[in-house]
Structure formats: C-alpha cells, structure tokens
C-alpha cells in the first residue's frame, strides 16, 4: 500500500498593521519604512521619491488628471495619472493647489519640460515599489 502525503500549505494571514504601513508608505513617501523602523531605507527610498518629485516640478513637469483631455483622449490620461498618483499626498496637495497641472505653452516650451514629466511619473512609480517593500517588511515576508 502506497501512502500519499499531501503537503499542507499554511497560509498565514497578513497582519492589519501591514496594510496600514502600506497605506502610509503610499500616502507619505518613506513613512512606511519609518513605521517599521528601517531608517536607512526610509531615508534612501523615501528621499529618492521626494527628490525626484520636486526636481520634476522644478524642471517644469506636468502631472496628469482626468480633468484634462476630452472624449477618448481623456482615457489616455489614465495610465500616466495612475503613475502620478503613486506620489500619494504630494500629488493630492499639488492637485488641490493647482501646482503642476496647468496646461500653458510657456511651461511646455521649456527645454526641461519632458524631463520634468518623466521625473514626476517615475517618482510615483518608485513610490509604488517603496509601498510594496514596506508592506512586505511589515508582513514579515522580508527582513
């Protein structure tokens, strides 16, 4: 008689704190790692996002929202808007103060306009990575 053994997978539930850390990491870049007491990571990773974001604004970059564009072109705003949204509170505050959302030709004519756009997009995308990293640390899946 051959015995077959079934491997029992134990799925440990994700602690609620991990979700909170993930949310904080998204909302304020670096906050997630600060909550898990990873100071160097918070400084390096959070600092990179903050610097990337403000350099983007300084270079005259433009952020995306659904309010720009009409008809089908409004849909084209969604992917870059998702990238910009990764910056969390930085994006929300800028949206409320109407900083970096204006569509004016003088700003678009600047030599660093496209660089600024890229920096702003990358700041958001890097913060998504930060958020996932902080979440994994808080969930105990990463040292």
């Amino acid at each position: 008689m051959v015995k077959t053994e079934k491997a029992i997978e134990r799925v440990e539930p994700t602690p609620a704190l991990a979700w909170l850390v993930g949310l904080a990491a998204w909302f304020i870049p670096g906050a997630g790692h600060l909550m898990t007491k990873h100071w160097v990571r918070a400084l390096l990773m959070g600092g990179s996002v903050w610097l990337c974001f403000f350099l983007g604004l300084w270079m005259g970059g433009h952020m995306f929202s659904l309010s720009t564009g009409q008809g089908s072109s409004q849909l084209l705003q969604v992917p870059p808007m998702i990238a910009n949204l990764g910056s969390g509170a930085l994006y929300i505050v800028c949206y409320m103060l109407d900083i970096g959302f204006a569509d004016d030709l003088v700003q678009a004519a600047r030599a660093t306009y496209e660089y600024g756009n890229t920096f702003l997009l990358i700041a958001g995308l890097l913060n998504y990575l930060n958020m996932l990293d902080a979440f994994d640390i808080a969930a105990g899946r990463k040292p």
């Binding site: 990571r41 390096l44 990773m45 990179s48 350099l55 660093t112 990358i122 890097l126 996932l132 990293d133």
Partner: protein, 55 residues
C-alpha cells in the same frame, strides 16, 4: 541643467530604489544598485550616439 546631469540624477535616484528593493544583504544591494546605475548610463549614452546619427 545639462542633459547629461539630468540623466545622471535620474539614473542615480532610480538605482538607489532598485538597489534597496532587490537582494538580501547590504553588500549585494550596493553591487546591484551600482550595476543598475552603470547600465542606465551606458544604455543612455549608446542610445544618444545612435540617435545622433539618425536625422
């Protein structure tokens, strides 16, 4: 701001985050971050020269 400086800053910031997220030990992270930085710079320069010859 000069274009090369912008590219260097961009590569630096991205490689810091990539290096910190990947790998397990601080030494491996440093090496990986430097590797990513070097790749960004090299590919950026190569693409720059290729595009220079394309009108």
């Amino acid at each position: 701001m000069r274009h090369f400086l912008v590219m260097t800053v961009f590569a630096g910031l991205v490689s810091i985050v990539f290096g910190a997220v990947a790998k397990d030990t601080p030494r491996d992270r440093c090496i990986y971050g430097l590797k990513v930085f070097a790749e960004f710079m090299l590919i950026g320069l190569v693409l720059g020269w290729i595009l220079y010859f394309i009108p």
